[in-house]
Symmetry: C2
Amino acid sequence: MSRVSAVSIVEAIASDIRARVFSGELPALHALTETEVASSYDVARPTAKAAIEKLVAEGLLVRGVHKTARVADLGPESVRDIYLARAYLESEVLRRLASGRTVPDEAVRANKDIAALKTGAPLDVVEPDMRFHTSLVDALGNERISKMYLSLVGEVRFCMSRVQSLHLLDTNLIQAEHQKLLELIGEGKGEAAARLLDEHLGRARERLVAAMGGEAGPEADLPSKLTG
Amino acid sequence: MSRVSAVSIVEAIASDIRARVFSGELPALHALTETEVASSYDVARPTAKAAIEKLVAEGLLVRGVHKTARVADLGPESVRDIYLARAYLESEVLRRLASGRTVPDEAVRANKDIAALKTGAPLDVVEPDMRFHTSLVDALGNERISKMYLSLVGEVRFCMSRVQSLHLLDTNLIQAEHQKLLELIGEGKGEAAARLLDEHLGRARERLVAAMGGEAGPEADLPSKLTG
DNA sequence: CTTGTGTACTTGTTAGACAATCGAAGGGCG
DNA sequence: CGCCCTTCGATTGTCTAACAAGTACACAAG
C-alpha cells in the first residue's frame, strides 16, 4: 500500500496507469476493470472509476457505455491523424514566429542537446525532440494552443513507445533540420520554414505508419535536395 | 423530475448546466456546490460531482482543490487568447483547403443562410456563422483538429453570450467576407485567404475585447480597402 | 448452424458516513 | 480600536455497502 497522494489519489492513480501504458507494461486493448484497478491500488471503486474516466477523457483509454475500459489501440490511421494535426498546428506556429523573427532560446537549447548525444540509443532523442517542438509552440504565448499541443504530444509519446527501438530516423538529420528551421525563423522566412516542417513531420509520420503495418505515403522518402 | 437520461445522467446534467451558463442564467463566478447541484437535479452527490468535473475539464467551470466550483470568468485576455487560437487554427486550415481548392458545400450553405436572414436580431447570425467556420475546419478531415476547434467554439459561444445584444459587427460585412474567403479558396489563393481571415477574426476579437472592458487593439477598425 | 435463454461479470447510480481542508466569524491581545 | 489567532460551519475528498441495469459468454433447444 504505497500512499502517493501528493495532490490527489485519483490523479496519482491516473498518473501511474499512464506511465504503465507508456512503458508498454499495459499493451493495447488490455482491459482495465474498475474493481481490478480499485483492488490493485487499494482504493474504493469510485476512486478507481474517476481515474479511469480521466484517462478516457485524455484519449489514453477507450470505453463504451457499460463496457470495460481498454488501452487505446492507436492504429496507423490514428498515427497519421495525430501527426497531421501536429503539422497543421506547428506550421502555422512557425509562420507566426517567423513574422516576428522570434527564435525561442529553449528550442535552441533543446536542439543543442540533440547534437550532444551521439550515443546509439535512439530513444534518448525523443525527450529533447519533444522539447524542441513544444518550446516552439509555447513561444507563441497562446494558452489554448499550448494546451492543445500538449494533448497531441501525449499521444505522440504513446505511439512512439510502441515502435521504440525501430530506429526510424537518423539523429543527425533531425538535428540538422531543426537547425535549419531555427535559421529560417530568424530570417523571417515563414513559408519556407512551414514547408520544411511539413517534410520533417511527414517523413516521421509515414515511416511510423509503415512500421505499424499501415501503407506508407511518398513522404517517407528523403527529398533529394536534402540528402547531401 | 424530468428524466432525460438519454445516454447518461451525468451527461444530461452537464448538458443542462452548460446551457444555463451559456444562456446567462448562471453568471460568471457563480458558485456551484456539489450538494446544491445534487439536490436541484434530485441525484446523488457523486453524480453531481461527476457532472461538475466534466465541465471543469471542459474549462466552463473552474475550481481549486477543496474549493467550490465557479462559473469561469472569461476576461478580455481570455477572449483574446481564444480568438487568437481560432485564427491560428483556421488560417492554416484555409491554406490547406486552398492548396486542394476544396470549397466545402456546407460552408457555402451556411453563408447563404447568413445572407437570407435580414432580420434585425443580431443573435441569429451566431449559429450560421459558427457553422460556416466549423464546416471549414471539418472539411480538413482531421479528427483531432476538429475536436480542438470544437472546444474553442464552445468558449466562443460562451463569451458571445456575455455580449449578446451589442451588435458589434455588420451582418452584410460578415457575409461578404465569408464569400470572399470561399472564392479565394476556390482559386487556390491560400495566403490571401489566411490574411483576410486574420482581419475578419481580428476585428471581431478586438471589438469583443473592448466590449468586455479591455483595451482594443488596432484590428478593431475596418481596413480602408474593404470599406467600399 | 442459428437462435434463444440464462447466468456471471461489470458498470451506473444511490445512500450514508467520516476525515481533511477552506473560509469566515468571533474572541483575545497589543 | 485594530490585528492576529482560534474555532466552527461548510464543502470537498474518499470510503463502505448496496441495488439496478446492461453486456458478454456459455449452453441448450430448434
